[in-house]
Structure formats: structure tokens, C-alpha cells
């Protein structure tokens, strides 16, 4: 989809005061990465379609005098776009997003590193032991790369969570587990082990296979 829009026409944008050359169809994140400007991300992965859920890549974008906050992983570049990746408000947004997530996964190394950068307090909000930050990397990797859909989101709003689908997971996951290293917390493996022990039928469970 992205490639279809990529034309040769060059677009000049400004990121943090630096002129950056970009091509039509590129996102702000791609343009920033090409110029070695760091924008943090949690739900983004180069093999997956941009998702825009964690919002940690939020930047300030100024177009024709209008300033708005956009997700860099999705926002398309356009001529004369001015991007600020570390304005006071951007830092404030990222700090609070981290504090929201640290209430779920206070010991995620990735979150801890970012928390240090943005001065986020892991104890600001009451802990909720869901451990998952719902970045969807596992769900989307399984759907988009592996095309198996062995794990999915269930429920909505505050009740949203990830769940392995036992029938598919019992067949597919044992020899794959490629999503495990993508998880920014340790929840994914825990969810898998739980599904395995509770819901895999005995003849397909790894212990049964060994017998």
C-alpha cells in the first residue's frame, strides 16, 4: 500500500529545526529515522503495518500555521511540514503515557529506559496487574507475518486483553514462538503458558507429543 504511493517527488520538511529530505508517501517517523532523529516507539515494528496505538511517538506537527499532535508512525510527510519531536507538550504527553503503562508493567526494561528519559514516575498511578500494555505486536505479527491469527484481542475499552486461541495455538505456536521476543513485557509468554496448561487438548500438548 505504502509503496504504491511512493513517487520520486522530493519533499523537504523540517524536524527539530533540521531540514530533512523525504519522499511522498513516507511517514514522519520514516523521515526522522532517515535523518537519524530519534522518536521513541512501542507498538511500531518495521515488518508490520503502522498501528498508532501506543502514541509514544506523538510529535508536534505544524502545517500552514496550524499545530497539532500526531502519531509520527502514521502521519504522512507533506511539503513545508514543521515537526517538533521534543517540545514541552510532547514530553508531557510521553511522560504520562509511560506513567499509564508503568501502572501495568512497572518492570518492563523498555518502559524503564524511556521513563528515565522523560522523567516518568512508575508509581504515579495505582498498579493494575495486567502486565500487558496492549501494543498488539504479538497479535499483528501473527496475523500479518505468520498469517495464523493464533492470538487476538478480546473485549473492548478498559477490558481489552490479548488471548491465544487454543485450537490454533496448539497447532501453530509450539514450533514458532516468533512473537515472544517482540513483547515489551513478560506477559506474552505467561499468557501462552497459561493457555497451554489450561486449554490445549492433551494429545497435542508438548508433553503428550513426547510420549
Amino acid at each position: 500500500m505504502m509503496d504504491k504511493h511512493k513517487k520520486t517527488s522530493e519533499i523537504i520538511i523540517q524536524i527539530d529545526g533540521k531540514e530533512v529530505k523525504a519522499a511522498e508517501g513516507m511517514t514522519v517517523l520514516e523521515a526522522a529515522q532517515s535523518a537519524d532523529i530519534f522518536i521513541p516507539m512501542l507498538c511500531h515494528h518495521e515488518k508490520l503495518e503502522p498501528y498508532g496505538a501506543c502514541r509514544i511517538c506523538t510529535v508536534e506537527a505544524e502545517v500552514r500555521g496550524w499545530t497539532k499532535f500526531v502519531a509520527a508512525c502514521l502521519y504522512p510527510v507533506e511539503q513545508d511540514l514543521v515537526v517538533r519531536t521534543r517540545s514541552e507538550k510532547v514530553d508531557k504527553i510521553r511522560k504520562m503515557i509511560l506513567e499509564f503503562l508503568l501502572a501495568h508493567a512497572p518492570y518492563s526494561p523498555q518502559l524503564q529506559d524511556l521513563a528515565q528519559e522523560y522523567g516518568a514516575d512508575k508509581d504515579r498511578f495505582e498498579k493494575e496487574s495486567s502486565f500487558c500494555i496492549l501494543c498488539g505486536l504479538c497479535v499483528r505479527y501473527c496475523a500479518e507475518v505468520k498469517k495464523k491469527n493464533a492470538i487476538g484481542f478480546v473485549d473492548c475499552g478498559a477490558r481489552r486483553e490479548i488471548r491465544f486461541i487454543p485450537e490454533i495455538a496448539a497447532e501453530e505456536c509450539i514450533n514458532c514462538k516468533e512473537c515472544f521476543p517482540l513483547c515489551p513485557t513478560s506477559y506474552l509468554q505467561a499468557a501462552f503458558v497459561l493457555t497451554e496448561s489450561l486449554a490445549f487438548s492433551t494429545d497435542s500438548s508438548p508433553t503428550a507429543l513426547k510420549k
Binding site: A53, R55, L74, K92, I93, M96, I97, F100, A158
Partner: protein, 326 residues
């Protein structure tokens, strides 16, 4: 109903489409029945389907039920749901008029808007704009509910004052109670206090007061209402009705709801109001779709006009804590 179908056809003739959708709530079977009857009649008269009135123009309308959560009404979520996908909004950096249902350009409007277009084509824009205010033309369907004698839907010319709607059409407040506030626009709308009741029904005038008309919902609240509880109620609703995809919306609503529940239950703390304002600023700026961006609007509007109620609730708690220490 015919008006809506007619207009669907007009617009789709203009943009060259042959397929229309009417998207309605899943829990309104009567509405679905009525629409189905109207569609069948229209087809019977040759006003819908293939070769309409011998014009070689084909047009069909499909009725779709929502998925059962509030965010399904968000434009891109609605289109995803018609495609058969989960109703998760996508960012509007590319407009749905460019890429909508199945990636095709799609025109989306409220049925009320559609219903107006054939009237305007038939009777002219001058006729239509002769009713209303400088910037809000024509009439609006308002839905009256809450502490009011006559509940229901009424068509009101723009420019009618809120007071006229409440005491005239609505018949006033029951049980001899005084009016405290009118809440506009549902769970992402805002309230205005009794003192501003002479404001005319006008998109801009009400938006300036922090109360967007939205789809026309008017919730009338009497003197016994706790405005903190109103804000808590709407956030509780949204916490189950958002899709839960993006962090500022899902987690921001979760935390704001916790604080508001604490305040309502007499467990409010000093600094809670400031924290609510800080969270609402982040969810408002960083959320993916309009639901998250405006989720804090009822909270912000009640803080604007009824801040003393929040403060009183928190102070009451502080006093009783001090008493316990003594």
C-alpha cells in the same frame, strides 16, 4: 425515511456510487423494521434497485447494525465494521472521502443531514436558510431526556433558546424541582448551568460554552443532581464503549474514572482536580480518534461551571479525615 433514501440517491448519482449503507444501533429492532419496510416500498415503486424509473441508474441500500459499542459510530470505525472488521478507528490523516469503505471514497453523513438535502433541492436554499441563526441554519432534532416532563424527540428551529425548549416543549421540570443544568451531546458533550439557559440553540454559541450540540441529545438535570456524578457516569460509560486500542484514551479514561469514583465515594484527595485536568489535556491531544479526544469534555465542562461541587466533595473528605486524627 423516503427523504433519506431519496437523498442517498441524489448524492450517489452525483458521486457515481451505486451502493448506500444505513448504519444503525443493534438494539433498535423497531428502527430496523421501519427502515426495511421503507426500503421494500421504495423498491416496489421502482425508486430503488436496478434501472430506477427507467433511468438506467442503479442504486441499492443496505442496513447495517453496529457492533454494540459506542465507538462503532466513529466514521472510520463504522466503515471498518461494515467491511466486517472490528470497529477500531483509524487515524484520519487520509480522509474517508478519499479512502473509506474497502478503500473506496465514501461520503458519510448523519441521516438527519441526508434528510435535509432533498428539501433544499426541492424548495431552494433561500427557503432553508430563512429559518435559524446566522451560522446554524434550518432546524435540529433534539432528544429531550432526564428530569423533564415531556421526554422525546422534537424538531426545533435553530435560534430557539434552551429555556424555551426546556420549559415550552419539554414542559419544565417535574415534582416542583429547580433546574440545575442541561447536558448536550451525550457522553462526549458538555453541560451548561441554569444561568446560561437563554443561550440560543446554535452550534457555535453552545460550543463556545463547552457544550457541543452533537447529535442533539439534551439531558435535563434538576437541583438534586451531583455534577461530579454526571461526569463519572459518562466516563464509566466510555470506559466500556471505547475500542481500547490507543493508550491515551483507554488508560486516560481508566485513571480519570478512578479519581472521579473516589471523589464521588468521599475518598477524594487534594490535587485530584489538577490531576484530572492534566490527564484530560493528554487524552485530548494524543488520542487516536474523536472519542478519546473528547472523552473528557463532560468532565471539563462540569469543572468549568460546577468546580465548587468538586472542591466541596474533596473538602468534606479532608474535614472528616482531620476529625479522625483528633
Amino acid at each position: 425515511m423516503i427523504s433519506i433514501i431519496e437523498d442517498h440517491k441524489v448524492i450517489d448519482k452525483i458521486i457515481g456510487s451505486h451502493q448506500g449503507f444505513i448504519y444503525i444501533r443493534h438494539d433498535t429492532p423497531q428502527l430496523k423494521n421501519n427502515i426495511d419496510i421503507a426500503l421494500a416500498k421504495a423498491e416496489e415503486y421502482g425508486l430503488l434497485g436496478e434501472n430506477i424509473l427507467g433511468s438506467s441508474f442503479n442504486f441499492n441500500v443496505e442496513v447495517h447494525l453496529d457492533i454494540g459499542i459506542f465507538v462503532s459510530g466513529e466514521s472510520s470505525a463504522l466503515m471498518k465494521s461494515i467491511e466486517g472488521n472490528p470497529p477500531e478507528p483509524r487515524p484520519k490523516y487520509i480522509h474517508t472521502s478519499v479512502s473509506g469503505i474497502w478503500g473506496k471514497p465514501s461520503v458519510l453523513n448523519n441521516v438527519e443531514t441526508w434528510a435535509n438535502v432533498p428539501l433544499i433541492i426541492d424548495k431552494g436554499s433561500e427557503w432553508y436558510t430563512s429559518t435559524g441563526t446566522e451560522r446554524s441554519k434550518g432546524t435540529k432534532l433534539v432528544s429531550l431526556s432526564g428530569n423533564i416532563v415531556n421526554t422525546g424527540v422534537a424538531e426545533v428551529p435553530f435560534g430557539t433558546t434552551v429555556r424555551e425548549i426546556v420549559s415550552g416543549i419539554g414542559g419544565g421540570i417535574p415534582n416542583g424541582k429547580k433546574l440545575k443544568a442541561v447536558h448536550f451531546g451525550g457522553p462526549m458533550g458538555g453541560s451548561i448551568p441554569e444561568s446560561l439557559l437563554d443561550t440560543p440553540l446554535d452550534f457555535d454559541e453552545l460550543a463556545k460554552l463547552g457544550a457541543s450540540i452533537g447529535a442533539g441529545g439534551m439531558l435535563v438535570l434538576d437541583e438534586d443532581t451531583s455534577m461530579v456524578d454526571v461526569a463519572r457516569y459518562f466516563l464509566h460509560f466510555l470506559s466500556n464503549e471505547s475500542c481500547g486500542k490507543c493508550v491515551p484514551c483507554r488508560e486516560g479514561i481508566r485513571q480519570m474514572l478512578k479519581i472521579l469514583t473516589n471523589i464521588c465515594d468521599g475518598r477524594g484527595r487534594e490535587g485530584d482536580i489538577e490531576l484530572l485536568e492534566e490527564i484530560s489535556e493528554v487524552t485530548g491531544a494524543a488520542s487516536l480518534c474523536a472519542l478519546g479526544k473528547t472523552a473528557a469534555d463532560p468532565l471539563l465542562s462540569t469543572l468549568r461551571y460546577f468546580r465548587d461541587e468538586y472542591e466541596a466533595n474533596i473538602a468534606k473528605m479532608k474535614r472528616s479525615a482531620e476529625k479522625r486524627e483528633l
